[in-house]
Structure formats: structure tokens, C-alpha cells
């Protein structure tokens, strides 16, 4: 039985998709090779895609390698998730000017722009869904995020190759894009299986006049995605979260990892879900106008733990513990879902290669020292 949403597109004809999106008014963005990795760039031609390139990722290490093959989506991902498209690293919130009333504040919500992001992975889509929950909740909608989100068209690519740092399978976020995409592609040799996941996606699909996908292609795509899931070497055991991590607050492993951690913020910057931000004022010299700007912040910065006159998280240990406990434990209490999507970026882009899939099991293994502390606490009734 042919699924109407499943079509076949020869890989050599991918340009047709780009052109169709272009005609529909989208700026087409895709991964392009730059500075030894891939970054999102506006492209017009399939030739701009990193054809034949693959990424090798390990803790603290990222390398691109040319295979010579015609593979279009051989690179899994670069340092950027979808986050910068919706939650901008630097977002002016208000323009404020002196006036007769003292001042006048004008909100600077950006106009919604139609952007099609081609090559989004399932983990990043999961990250987007999590950020939607944070920024678009009922009580307070973030107008800036909403405006950017509104114009976003996601062309996902299902993964058929896992990196050494991937663990989406154990987080139930991939390697197949589950929902919230507009189109999803699976690259099977020289063919692309195309699936529509939204009305906007169906419209684009119908513009393309593609034949239904043969069942053999659908089956082969499924087989490769499953194989990709099974090939993942890292995993995160979540069954005892969040409580087990809360209970590990006094574990000596925090000291060990703090000895390595640079508190440099890289893990939080590359994380598809991290949402902390700070607000900065930039007045002009004459104090007549100022811009109220939102910037990506991180729980690893000094200011993050600041509370009138003192810092509640002065040490690296405090900050790493805050980050991991939030990401893997309190996030679940806050949003009903883990803050980790298993993309592995925090492992790769950590300059010293700290691996949370290694830290978590160590933290959940009771240590002799921890048992002593727990016994003391029980004895003192604490």
C-alpha cells in the first residue's frame, strides 16, 4: 500500500526541491563545509552542499573527511543546532529612547522570515520541540522566538550513519525524525525517500510532482535507520532520573569532573535545548538612547549564580553540577521531558572532551565517600 506522503526523488534532482522552496519564498539554508566543520549557510545550489564529506566526532575532536562518494548528507552535524534560527544568540528586545515621559520603549520583535532549513537531524528537531515548550508556553509567549519560529520550514534528514558521540537512540529522539518536520528525507544511495510531515510540507511535495516511493525503497530506508540506531555505541541510562541525580549531590565524582571542566560555556552554547540568557544594556554616550539586548548566557558564567552581592555557584564544581543536574534531572520536573536529546555535541565540542554519558553512570554509582556522607546526614537527621 503506497503512502501518499512518501515519494521518491533521485538524489541528482535535489535541486528541484531547493528551487521549489525558493519559489515559495523561502530562504534555503543548509550545512556547508567551512573552517573544518559544517555551519548553516544560505545556499541556492545543491553544489554548495558538502557532497562526499563525512564528519568524524569524538570527545573534544571534530574532523571532516572526503570519501569521494556522491553522498549528499554524509555529514551528521556541525556545532550549530536549529537553536540560532529561533533563539537568536543576540536579540535586541527593546529600543529605548529618552522622551517627555522619561523614556519610550519600543519592542523590536523581528519580522517573521520564511527560512527552510535543509538537513536537520532528528536530535535537532527534538531540541526544537523542547525549545517550543519553553518559549511558546501559554502564560508567557516569547514574541521574538515566536516570530522566528513561525517562518521556519524544516527539511529533516533521517540518519543512516551514527557518530561515535551519538546517543539519540537511548533518548528516544532519533535517528528517525518523529514529528514536527515539514519534510523528511532519507538518503538511500542515489535515491531520496521524501516524506511530508505537515500541510506546508505536503504543499511543497505536491509542487514537485514526485512518484510514490516504491515499497522496496521504504523498506531499505527503514532498515538503514534501524541499523544506525543499533550501531550507536554511547547511551544514557535514564530509568533512575531525575531522583538518582538529585541524590548524587554530594558525590565525589563532581570534584573529579570539575578538575577537567574549563567552565568555558561551550557545552551550553552548542546544546540544542539550553535556553539561559542574559540581558545587556547598550546606552550611547549621550544617554539619549539604549538598546535592551538579550544574549545567550550559560550556567557556567560567573554572573549566572549571582544574587545580590554574592555568588551561589562560585566554583567550577557548582557550575558543572548545576548544568548536568538541570539538563538530565530538573528539566524533567520543569518540562516533563529530558533536556538532553542525545546529539552528542557537548561531548564533541568540549575543548577537553568531557563526556556526560561517562559522567552520569559514575555519578549514579554510589561511592564509599558518598555512603559515609549519607550516613552522617541520616545520623544528624538532615
Amino acid at each position: 500500500m503506497a503512502d501518499d506522503n512518501l515519494r521518491i526523488l533521485p538524489a541528482a534532482h535535489l535541486q528541484r526541491l531547493l528551487d521549489t522552496l525558493c519559489v515559495r519564498g523561502y530562504r534555503t539554508v543548509a550545512p556547508t563545509a567551512r573552517d573544518g566543520a559544517v555551519v548553516w549557510e544560505t545556499i541556492r545550489s545543491v553544489a554548495d552542499l558538502p557532497i562526499g564529506w563525512r564528519d568524524r566526532q569524538e570527545p573534544g575532536c571534530y574532523r571532516l573527511e572526503q570519501t569521494g562518494a556522491q553522498e549528499i548528507f554524509g555529514i551528521v552535524h556541525g556545532p550549530q543546532s536549529l537553536k540560532p534560527f529561533v533563539f537568536a544568540p543576540r536579540e535586541p528586545l527593546l529600543q529605548i529612547e529618552r522622551s517627555k515621559d522619561g523614556f519610550t520603549a519600543r519592542s523590536t520583535v523581528p519580522p517573521s522570515e520564511k527560512v527552510a532549513v535543509i538537513g536537520t537531524r532528528a536530535c535537532d528537531l527534538a531540541g526544537l520541540v523542547i525549545q517550543d515548550r519553553i518559549f511558546l508556553k501559554e502564560t508567557y509567549q516569547d514574541s521574538y522566538y515566536a516570530a522566528r519560529r513561525e517562518g521556519l520550514f524544516v527539511v529533516a534528514v533521517n540518519c543512516t550513519r551514527a557518530l561515535a558521540t551519538c546517543f539519540c537512540s537511548s533518548m528516544d529522539t532519533g535517528p528517525r525524525a518523529h514529528n514536527s518536520f515539514d519534510l523528511a528525507l532519507t538518503e538511500v544511495d542515489d535515491q531520496l525517500l521524501v516524506e511530508a510531515g505537515s500541510i506546508a510540507g505536503q504543499e511543497v511535495l505536491s509542487d514537485l510532482f514526485l512518484p510514490p516511493a516504491p515499497e522496496s525503497l521504504v523498506a531499505e530506508a527503514a532498515k538503514r535507520i534501524d541499523a544506525c540506531a543499533r550501531s550507536q555505541v554511547r547511551r544514557l541510562e535514564r530509568s533512575r532520573l531525575p531522583s538518582a541525580l538529585y541524590d548524587a549531590h554530594a558525590h565525589p565524582r563532581w570534584d573529579t569532573v570539575a578538575g577537567r571542566c574549563l567552565a568555558c560555556t561551550n557545552c551550553t552554547m552548542v546544546c540544542p535545548t539550553c535556553f539561559c540568557h542574559a540581558v545587556e544594556e547598550t546606552p550611547d554616550l549621550s544617554q539619549q538612547q539604549t538598546t535592551h539586548v538579550r544574549l545567550w548566557d550559560s550556567c557556567f558564567t560567573q554572573e549566572h549564580g549571582y544574587i545580590h552581592g554574592k555568588n551561589i555557584r562560585p566554583t567550577i564544581k557548582d557550575r558543572y553540577r548545576m548544568w548536568l543536574t538541570h539538563k538530565l534531572a530538573s528539566w524533567i520536573d520543569q518540562f516533563g521531558i529530558s533536556g538532553c536529546v542525545g546529539c552528542g555535541r557537548c561531548i564533541t565540542w568540549c575543548p577537553v572532551g568531557i563526556d556526560l554519558t561517562e559522567e552520569l553512570p559514575a555519578l549514579l554509582t554510589p561511592s564509599e565517600q558518598q555512603s559515609v556522607i549519607n550516613r552522617q546526614q541520616e545520623a544528624s537527621g538532615g
Binding site: 529605548i96 515621559d101 520603549a105 519592542s107 538529585y246 540581558v279 544594556e281 546606552p283
Partner: protein
Amino acid sequence: MVNPYLIHPATIVEKIRESDDINTYRLQLVDEQVRARFRFAAGQFNMVYLFGVGEVAISIVSDPDEPAFLDHTIRIVGRVTKGIAELKSGDVLGIRGPFGQGWPLDEARGRPVVIVTGGLGCAPVVGAIESIFRRRTHYGPVKILHGVKTPHDLLYRERFDAWRHVPDTEVLLTSDQPDKAWHHHVGVVTELFEQVSIDPATSIVLMCGPEIMMRLGVPILMRRGIPATAIYVSLERHMECGIGLCGHCQMGPYFLCKDGPVMRYDRVAQWLGRVGV
């Protein structure tokens, strides 16, 4: 869609000097429509903005029944509050708000109310006290226990004096480091618990002040039979957005700006006093 980041100008109608480094600013929103819409609950806070410098979260200390004027008691601690201290009446600040969960005044109806505060920590609960006394008959006996380090730190002296004369109300003050003129109790606020009778089954406790006061004080109250679910505390963390988005005010699973600042004790007991939380 209302933009929760939008800052509204508010004129300083009156600046009241409370001590060397603490002032109360009575603010009035400049825009009449914004002013007419503005409603708040006791215990909620505003983000107060100083042009070109930034915002700080400050609880609204005035009576929620008079939302045309919004009182904010501000101690000089950082760059924004230092700048605000330079302003005088007639100058303009900015306001965003109100944000957060206030005191459970509905739940307190018909019950004895015990209010325990320390230092400037009394500020967030002042509006609640005024609100209770405005409807005095709706509440049981009120006991206000307030501790300060030195008599110099005692703010709102006239209010404390006035509250003494409200029917069925006790006001007990204490100071750690009293001067010669101090004629109240000497010691920490938890010692005042011994001086009042509290019905553990029906009382509700509102607590506000340094975290150490809550950590030491609550267990004493609980030993007297007051359940953790009848104790409410107002907590502080760095707040930048006021709407649970910027991530700074987390305490365990809570965003204190939106889930708090007033929290029922049993929900936060596990987190209070944890290093780095």
C-alpha cells in the same frame, strides 16, 4: 500578543529614606491605560528598570487594593540599585510586571496567621499584612514576629507601631545586636516562637528573610506540630526575565520568578541550604 519584556515608564512620586542604604520608592505608571490595568497580589514583584543600566527584581510592598501607587523598598547592592539611589522624586524609572506567585491569602482566610520575617525580608510581606488588616474579620489572630540585626535595620517603624493596635494582633520584635534604647527582645527571631502561642492545627505561617532563618526556623515550627504544608516562604534568586525563561532563578526544579517567589515549604525543603542550588 502582550510582550512581557516591554518596560513602562513610572514616575517616582515619593522617595522615602528608610536607612542609609535603603529607600522606598512610590511609583506611578505614566501611561494611564497601563496604570488602570495594573493589578497585583501581595508578594508579587516587579522588574524595576533604570534607563541605560538595567533591571532588578523588587517586590511590591504596598497594598494590593491601591494599585495606582506601587511601593518598592530597595537596598543599594549592585550597579542598578546604586544608580536608582541617585534618583529623586519626579524622576522616572521603568516597570515590568507584576510577576510571580504571591502569598496564599485565600488559603489563610479564617485561620490564625503567623508572620515571621528577618531584616529587609519583611518587605515582601508588608503588602500581605496590609491586605489582611483591610479585611481584619476574615482572618484569625495575627502574630508578627520580626527580627533585625541591629535596631538601625528596623524599617517601617510606624507600620509596626500601627499594627500593634489592630485587634487580635501581636507584634514582637527582636534584635541580635541591640543598642541601649532597644526595649524589645534580644536575640534571633526564632527565639520569639517561644513567646507566642500557636495553634499548630489551624495556623498558617508566612516567612520571609534570609534563607538561613528559614532553614533554622522551619524545623522549630514543625516540631511544634505545624505541618510543612502550612508554611510558606518567600525566596530569592537572581531574576532577569521574570517569566521563567532566562534560567537564572532556578532552585532545583523551580523557577522562583514564576513558581515563586512565595513557595510552600514542603516543595522546597529538599533544596534549601544545598550548596550551589
